[in-house]
Structure formats: structure tokens, C-alpha cells
């Protein structure tokens, strides 16, 4: 065999190898990608990026807003709080002091709400509370059920997503920091579809302006609005058509581990609430949408919580190929954590318009 023949065969093999994988990839993409039958509307200039800031690390999360400032917690430096002004120009780093230090800290999270802040971790569990004037926190709760999410509703009442003992299913409840006997929960808020762990996963919010608890499911097209006393107001639907969580689980033999048998269909990746609007980062393209926009941006759908209608959608662009991780809306600004950066989008008035988008549906 001459070198020529060998090289020719090598090239053929290379093309063949690449070709097969590329083909598999394309076929798989087409099979897996869900084609929806709903239409989004993208009004021009609803949201425009006005500033960006490099935070150096990608481990930040939103801890809250207060007086127009943004508070960022950091998973890898749990007691450092970064405070940014509304246009991301000025930065202050605040260290929180905990009075009780002998707890099994793993990854505490912080929430800032009005003049108070809370440091908590649901798998220990504990909740510290302090005020924003001296940034010193003292232990309020160090027992009770495990929880996975917490949002303050006022200075003493919290809405919490508990984990039920043994089964580990999620449950929405409330907690009063002054009177720990007042643990309240409502088992019917989250509706189990098959396992109660994955299918009920979602994002918990408290909306100050409307005084409502809002929960957005991750794997189905539904959000739940309840009063702070956990009385159900209504269940709303996001515009896509996935009413049943599409998750297949498999357990690995000889272990207790359960894992996804195939990538689950994420419907609502992350969400935010402000005023009477709900912002949802959807994962599902609708019809008449260019595929390109989904490659360069995260799509945010806006819903009106007072009349349950879909309003409009707008893109939040990826930065250096990184997608938006989480978002926060405060007044006329939307903040997005993208990779190591934070971006600020100005939301224009049309987003608050009163005309529901349902008129636009075919």
C-alpha cells in the first residue's frame, strides 16, 4: 500500500467519522426539539440593554433589591454581599457577621428584604436574621423541616418550599420567625404528576406590590398565585402547550440513585416577578420564530398577573456564548446574570401596556 492510498483511506475515514456523528447530532436535535404550536409576539424595543458590568466570578446570585440597589450574594463567598446601584456603576462589598458561628455551614444563601436580611440554608436547616444598618445577623431558627427555597414576605414571615420527610417531595409552606410553632403548609398547592420531586420543581417568588406568592413550574406550563396565607388565587398557564411534565426517570440498579433517563423537557428555566408582571425565561420556541434568535438570546415572556394574560416577549442576549442564568426585575430595569457578567436592560413602557396579547392569537 503506498502512502497515497493510505492517505486517501485516512481522509475517507475522517469524512465518514465526522459525517456519521454530524448526522446523528442533526437527527437527534430534530427528534428531541419540541415543535410548539403557539405564537409569541416580539414588539420592537420593549427592552434594551443599557449597561453591563464584569463581576469577575460566575458564582453570584440575586439576593434582593432595596431602594433601587441590587444585592448579589456569592455561592463561593457566602457572607460577602455585593451592592450595586441601579445602573451598575457603583459597587460596594458588604461583609455579613453571624453571631452564632458553630453551625454546619455548607452553602448559605442571603435574601435582602426591606430593612432586613436573612441568611439561611435549608438542608441544615437554619435561618439568621439581621438588619441592613449593622449587617449583623442572629440565629432565629435552627430546627424543623428541611427546605429547598425561601423568600421573605415581610420582616418575620417567610414563604418556604419544604421537603417532606422521607419522600423528599416539595411542599409550599410559611414560617413565622417569632413564633416557630406557627409552621403552616398547604399540600394542595403543588400538584404531583408522578414523583413529586422533579415534576413539581420550580421557582418560588414573593411579589411585594401585589402581596402574592408566585410559583412557576419548571417542567410544565403553569404558574400558581396564592395569598400570603396560602389561599390559592388561581393557576395560570404560560403560552406553551406542555401541561404534563415530560420527564422520564430511571434508577440505577443496586443503588438508590434516581436520575433522568433522557434530558427532561424544561419549559420555564427561570423567572422573576415585579409589580403586576411575571417574567418567564421560556425554553420552548413557538411557531414563526427564527431559530437564530434562540442561538443568541434567552427569550423572556411577560405575563400580567392581574388578568392572567400573556403580554409580549423580548430577548436577553447571550454574552460571550453564555446564557442568562437568572434574572431580577426592579421597576423599569431587568438585571440578568450571564456568565461572569451582569447586564441591565431598561424595560420600556409598552411592556406595561394594558392591551392583552390574546387578541393576537389566531
Amino acid at each position: 500500500m503506498s502512502y497515497k492510498v493510505k492517505l486517501l483511506i485516512l481522509i475517507t475515514c475522517t469524512v465518514f467519522g465526522f459525517g456519521i456523528i454530524y448526522l446523528l447530532f442533526n437527527l437527534s436535535e430534530n427528534i428531541i426539539h419540541y415543535k410548539n404550536k403557539f405564537i409569541r409576539r416580539f414588539p420592537q424595543h420593549v427592552a434594551q440593554e443599557i449597561s453591563q458590568k464584569n463581576l469577575t466570578y460566575n458564582s453570584y446570585y440575586f439576593a434582593g433589591t432595596r431602594k433601587g440597589n441590587i444585592y448579589l450574594g456569592n455561592y463561593t463567598a457566602p457572607l460577602k454581599l455585593m451592592i450595586l446601584d441601579s445602573t451598575l456603576q457603583e459597587k460596594v462589598v458588604q461583609t455579613i457577621e453571624l453571631k452564632e458561628k458553630n453551625l454546619p455551614f455548607e452553602s448559605p444563601q442571603i435574601r435582602v428584604f426591606n430593612n432586613h436580611f436573612f441568611v439561611f440554608e435549608g438542608i441544615v436547616p437554619y435561618i439568621f436574621k439581621g438588619n441592613v444598618y449593622d449587617w449583623k445577623a442572629s440565629l432565629k431558627i435552627n430546627s424543623g423541616y428541611y427546605f429547598s427555597q425561601l423568600e421573605p414576605m415581610d420582616s418575620i414571615n417567610m414563604v418556604i418550599r419544604y421537603l417532606t420527610p422521607k419522600s423528599g417531595e416539595s411542599l409550599i409552606g410559611t414560617l413565622n420567625l417569632m413564633d416557630t410553632t406557627k409552621v403552616d403548609y398547604e399540600a394542595t398547592i403543588l400538584q404531583k404528576q408522578f414523583d413529586g420531586i422533579f415534576d413539581t420543581d420550580g421557582n418560588l417568588h414573593f411579589n411585594k406590590q401585589l402581596n402574592k406568592i408566585i410559583y412557576v413550574y419548571r417542567y410544565r406550563n403553569e404558574y400558581i398565585v396564592t395569598s400570603p396565607q396560602l389561599h390559592l388565587d388561581y393557576r395560570g398557564n404560560t403560552i406553551d402547550t406542555i401541561s404534563k411534565a415530560q420527564i422520564r426517570l430511571t434508577s440505577i440498579k443496586n443503588t438508590k440513585m434516581k436520575t433522568f433517563a433522557e434530558p427532561p423537557l424544561v419549559v420555564n428555566k427561570t423567572s422573576a416577578v415585579d409589580g403586576n408582571l411575571l417574567y418567564v425565561n421560556s425554553n420552548l420556541p413557538g411557531v414563526y420564530e427564527s431559530e437564530n434568535i434562540w442561538k443568541i438570546a434567552s427569550i423572556i415572556d411577560v405575563y400580567n398577573l392581574t388578568d392572567k394574560t400573556y403580554r409580549s416577549s423580548f430577548p436577553v442576549y447571550h454574552i460571550a456564548g453564555k446564557k442568562m442564568r437568572s434574572m431580577l426585575v426592579s421597576g423599569h430595569f431587568l438585571y440578568a446574570l450571564i456568565g461572569e457578567r451582569i447586564a441591565c436592560y431598561k424595560l420600556k413602557d409598552p411592556i406595561h401596556q394594558n392591551k392583552p396579547a390574546s387578541n393576537y392569537f389566531p
Partner: protein, 151 residues
């Protein structure tokens, strides 16, 4: 290339043996942890739609290539197949790194400890090794036997 034929054969042999070790290791670790391998493939963004048959094809082809490499007569075919399989693995990693919406975890054994980029470099090294072996392997064994038969 003006390399001593004996030296050439040794290099080619060493590369073949490295491949035999790699593929035997890879196939066994997949088959031993078959359950986990099946689950991980199912989560792969590229292959989830085909995971049911890919899960058998991959270790089977690794074993068949090992056998080809061990039989001198089929060594060249084995090297070409090994090369193709390595190209496929690398293409897979490349597509995952660049086009996939998320990056899953898979691979068994020590390879699990590598990042995807390290893995890609590891694969490219093996591709280069295969090319070297293919290019320097002396006029293959089948031809030699034929010549001897004629004379």
C-alpha cells in the same frame, strides 16, 4: 521515510498494543458499569434519540477493533477502524463543546476524571498515533505472504 524496517514494525506494534489496551479498558469499563453507561448516554444531547442501540454499538465496535488489531493479518484494517472510531469520538466531543445546549457528563473509569477539553486532546493524540502507525506500517503482511508464495 528511511527508517529501519524493524524499528518501524516495533513502533507500529507498540501503537497497536496501546490501542488494544485502551479499547479493552474502555469496553470493559462500559460493560461493567453498563447500567450507568446506558443512563448517561440517554442524557447525551447528541445521541439521546438513538441511545438504545448506540449503547451496544460502542463497546461492541471497541471489542471488534481490539480483535482486528490482535490478528496480524487484519492489523491494518484494525488501525483504520480504530482511527475512524477515534475521529468519531472526537467529532462527538467537538460538537458537544461547541453546539450542544448543555454539556453532560459521561465516560467511564479514569477517563471520567478528565474535562471535555482534556478528553479532546487525549483523543487527538490517539488519532495522531493511529496515523503514524498506519503510515509507517511496512507493506502489509498479506502482501509479504503473497510474495513468498509466488517465489
Amino acid at each position: 521515510m528511511k527508517l529501519n524496517p524493524k524499528f518501524r514494525r516495533n513502533i507500529a506494534n507498540i501503537i497497536c498494543n496501546i490501542y488494544v489496551v485502551l479499547f479493552t479498558y474502555a469496553a470493559t469499563s462500559k460493560l461493567l458499569g453498563f447500567e450507568i453507561f446506558r443512563v448517561q448516554l440517554g442524557q447525551s444531547p447528541l445521541l439521546s434519540a438513538f441511545s438504545s442501540w448506540v449503547v451496544f454499538t460502542v463497546p461492541l465496535s471497541e471489542i471488534s477493533i481490539t480483535i482486528l488489531l490482535l490478528i496480524p493479518k487484519f492489523r491494518v484494517i484494525g488501525l483504520f477502524s480504530a482511527y475512524t472510531l477515534m475521529v468519531m469520538f472526537s467529532a462527538y466531543i467537538y460538537i458537544i463543546l461547541n453546539y450542544s445546549t448543555f454539556i453532560p457528563c459521561s465516560c467511564g473509569g479514569i477517563l471520567e476524571k478528565m474535562t471535555w477539553n482534556q478528553h479532546l486532546i487525549f483523543n487527538i493524540c490517539f488519532i495522531i498515533l493511529a496515523v503514524i502507525a498506519i503510515l509507517i506500517i511496512s507493506p502489509n503482511n498479506i502482501l509479504i505472504t503473497r510474495k513468498t508464495l509466488k517465489s
